[in-house]
Subunit: 286 residues, 4 copies
């Protein structure tokens, strides 16, 4: 939990392309005494959309919160969808889990190592199995069982909890429930890990599907959850080679490592404000 | 074209598992003075199927052709689907192409380097573009135009050509026509390269599909062609990482390298008698 | 810890090649009512050495221990270096650690998940930091400080502990001490993880070396420890892509994932009796 | 040879970091009516060095050559090492080869496909073998034999040829001679491909070295040639997995694909003005 947090502001902008955007944004920061550390931009030539991530150190004389607000005003005046994050403010993360614990342990161990400038503030599960383990990491655990009959009530309690704890990000670490469109409309961003190379093998039992089809690589995909199952904007994907000697249980074992790595990378780039979503696609500034 | 061809026999067997198969097969070869160089076997535990590839040097006293036939009799007496190839006999390959030339050049250059113990005996194309290039490699070129109206006639001429030239393998090196079920029933095995990570993005314009979906990896798949498009048993697959900076034309460029490598590897393992097909899956002994 | 342990025997053999080895070994097992599940062999053509791994189910009538001993006698009569493991007997593993905990947690979590048919019987460390964590996994922790003055005494105590606990394998999970040649002569096999792509960047601070050299990939290498530092037979290696944006601390972070995966894979293949060492090379039957 | 060449200017700058560099550079271009397409920058925090690649469309009213010169003056006034390339001007490339032809064919086929906005203007070889093949691609071939006695004379003739043909880049496509420090001082930039994962296995016969050491991955490295053999700044590297079944000749075969891909990628990023060298490291803006 000791990651060095640079005292920087990070802006993510996107909107209709126009000449001079790089100059205007960098000029605005320079004139106010800010020092740009990183500035990445991208143009979608076909769609005519401009994307930018810019990270800067505000002058010591300035109030970071005020400068962030003023930047947002400036960005919007350029017709840009603009969001500024203050990296000294640690994001608050909720972990949704069921019984599988590999992604759960992986994320919490990375957090303890200091990989994430964030706080894991709660573990929510529809099963009680990981209660002790969560507390071992010092994170409160909430057991909220979900049945078809109680699902909407359970989701209402989850939402209340997220609001109460001021959660900025929900990570579904192999949480084995589909979140409703209603939940997703009210919740902060939700990152899910699907255990296949999407769009191949969406839905249930992807390792069984992969085995049946006889693919030579299996994959994992981290994406933002949307109302359509396994269809949200993809943040990160990876694959591993398999062969005929490996049965379904071996694919599951190999896949656990993929799931852990891919989800951890997606959570990291999200928390570092490197991801811009537009339509079904993401721009990940790395 | 100078690959050293070992004077060996290669048997591929598969069938219902039973105790003693490894001992019986290796014993049969040993008793007849053969020397096993490689023996790989695999059991599909769930399906109860045994697979074996065994490669051996026949005794100098034996006629390889006779030993091959006797082995096939023995294998079938064990209830095994059995095929023996004499590696001193070079397989005869037909290349089907259209206008894209990257897989075409790649396969023929590997052949010239001696990577394949085979002969490329003909290039067949529905376009005349690659005629000179084929002749530059010393391979006869047949231009057989295909239109919806002439397709069945063109396929009949293709089949006649394959029979006349005693072709053992057809390689579709970005041949932009779908082969009919009738053609595939009468033709030798056909390997196709599809420019996506199947089963994702089957059908047309897979790089466009991949771009639209915003995947973070693109792929290529070599498979045996079957009557159902892009659905045949997969021999080899690979992927490459892409990012938001890459437009469709960049995916096409990166994909060309994938297609070349994946198709070349699939052709190599097929020609080395390393591939066993069962159902929609393959066992590739490497 | 619930891995299903097949009631099988696994033999590893290697020695001078001669005709009929596959037939003799498989025949011996078949005649005694054993059922071969897997049999992999390899010939080093240049050196004239034969290698085999064969795994079989003994007949229910036989005593596994007796059959193992008889197989070893038979193998040696063929001039083969022969070792048979009974997979129903769980190997006993000692973990050597210092302060870094990523490989430590990774191995113990995999063990708890049931990936390894083995028992982690002790954690030995020259620092007290991981004592509580080890006990949290239910594994006894021994703090044995090492200074230049006390090294040989500490190693003697380590060896006594390994003997007392009947340890079969020592895993150095980022243990930051060099084990002496004397220790290695008396100890069971020792697997070490080095945080570079050996033979590049042997010795200290490999991530700093990699950064200075400007490589585009960083690596990790799991190998058997020998008297010469970072020079033992390699079991597994992997790499990850890095770029100019990544400073040394980023290489360290990315490298942690490599170290975890590579060490875990090496430990798995060793525990499944898949690794044969000869000279500075290994044959890994997978 | 039909790559669409954008009418753009590309500047590469590096020098001591100071506040406002991004703003000043982008402001300069904006004020003169230029439209920035891409702007990437990087800071080496430890060394305090700023790097930038900026690509822009000059206003139609401006002369591109004049704007390039003025930008260089401006960049130098900021203390930056500055170079501007006009992408409408096709770079002129010389290919140095010996007998191996896989990289030779690969680069020339990519060129014919239109992957490179450059002209391959000459093939130079110390052997006559590839003369016909070069002419088949329409590229003049110069046979300049090299012996220890004639090496300095041969290099003088090579340099004269490079000057005469206004060559911008030399690519050593498995050219089996070491270029002298004198040659390198006078020549344009030289990219070499080494068939190992440098710094492992520098010098001769790297695949044999890799085989002897028993590594589990083999590699290839493209780097700028410097006076110290295999020690120049690395542009690109990649690896492929190998196993105990693969003998040296198999490593050579697998390595050919690595060499082709890695060299082709290095040549592409160089020709697109994406590479900045400092010390032994490179910044590759991709």
């Amino acid at each position: 939990m000791s990651a060095i947090i640079p005292s920087t502001l990070v802006a993510l902008l996107h909107g209709p392309d126009q000449p001079g955007l790089v100059a205007r944004v960098s000029g605005w920061i320079f004139e106010r005494g800010g020092n740009i550390l990183h500035a990445d931009q991208h143009r979608d030539m076909e769609a005519g959309v401009f994307f930018q991530r810019v990270e800067w150190v505000p002058p010591t004389s300035a109030d970071a919160g005020t400068m962030a607000q003023e930047f947002e005003v400036m960005g919007r005046s350029l017709g840009m969808n603009t969001h500024v994050a203050d990296r000294t403010r640690r994001a608050r993360v909720a972990l949704f889990v069921s019984k599988f614990d590999h992604c759960f342990h992986d994320l919490l161990l990375r957090w303890k190592t200091g990989d994430y400038a964030a706080d894991f503030v709660v573990v929510v599960s529809n099963h009680p199995d990981l209660a002790d383990a969560a507390r071992g990491y010092g994170v409160p655990f909430h057991h909220l069982p979900v049945t078809p009959a109680t699902k909407s009530e359970a989701e209402a309690r989850q939402l209340a909890l997220l609001r109460e704890l001021k959660v900025d990000l929900v990570v579904m670490a192999r949480y084995m429930q589909v979140l409703s469109a209603e939940f997703l409309r009210s919740a902060p961003p939700v990152i899910n890990i699907h255990h296949s190379f999407l769009p191949a093998f969406a839905g249930g039992k992807p390792y069984h599907q992969a085995y049946e089809r006889g693919v030579k690589l299996i994959g994992a995909t981290a994406h933002y959850a949307t109302a359509v199952l396994d269809d949200g904007p993809i943040i990160q994907q990876d694959v591993a080679r398999v062969n005929h000697r490996q049965e379904v249980q071996d694919l599951v074992r190999v896949g656990r490592d993929l799931e852990r790595l891919v989800l951890a990378q997606a959570v990291r780039v999200h928390l570092e404000n490197r991801v811009l979503v537009y339509g079904k696609r993401t721009v990940v500034f790395e």
